[in-house]
Symmetry: C2
Subunit: 123 residues, 2 copies
Amino acid sequence: MAISEAEAVVMDVLWRKAPRTAEEILAEVGPAQDWQEGTVKSLLNRLLRKKAVHAERDGRRYLYTPLLTREQYVQQESKGLLDRLFGGRVAPLVAHFSEQRKLSKKDVSELRKLLQELDDEQH
Amino acid sequence: MAISEAEAVVMDVLWRKAPRTAEEILAEVGPAQDWQEGTVKSLLNRLLRKKAVHAERDGRRYLYTPLLTREQYVQQESKGLLDRLFGGRVAPLVAHFSEQRKLSKKDVSELRKLLQELDDEQH
DNA sequence: ATGTTATGTTTACACGCGTAAATGATCGCG
DNA sequence: CGCGATCATTTACGCGTGTAAACATAACAT
């Protein structure tokens, strides 16, 4: 089952640093998200059920660690979008952003470098 | 309110050709999706409520036309993903697919061409 | 004018999500 | 040992979604 958006926010905290307690997660995410403690606990439990995080008892509390990696998550999400909207091909996606003037100078130079590197690898 | 995935399937049919009747939509989408007539009708009604399509009476039936354009939809969806996962920047997204070996030869050559064109425009 | 057919509209229902209150378990202190 | 504090688990609730059955309505044929 898929990770929801709110759940992903919690994962994000764990991806930055793990393991963490529920309290730490709340501290990091509460202000921005304006969530109560119960909300974070629920999200953690759903993530446990989905096997996206692991909980290890540490005295009276639990330490949460991500099982699903950020790579895996990003992979799923972006492949889904790519397939649904761009026939699974990357170039049309970039073209889309290009038309939308969403390519910064930095993007362009990085893309250039990336293509260069692919060239080099290509022996 | 956002267009859901099932709703987007209906939109897709209309983007390919419009206006269309509910029956035509069902004919096009039913086999692949294995949907009943009622399902398509419901989706159309929700799209109406969301002002994503317009319905015009034509005798005993309605002709449905998209109001939301494919461009707009693609725009929303892909910007969302870009912001959530790649800090709103395109290059990291492409880098991601590159690492994942998801760049076909065709992608690479098209990207090269794209960058070339951007260069040319650049006066 | 009426029944049958073709359409559209309403209602339904289970499930996931966002959010949180209520409840339960556990630890430390007195 | 019993109480309060601290966590975690369970339960709840409204909302959107996916799916569809039930119901209403309008058009056509007889």
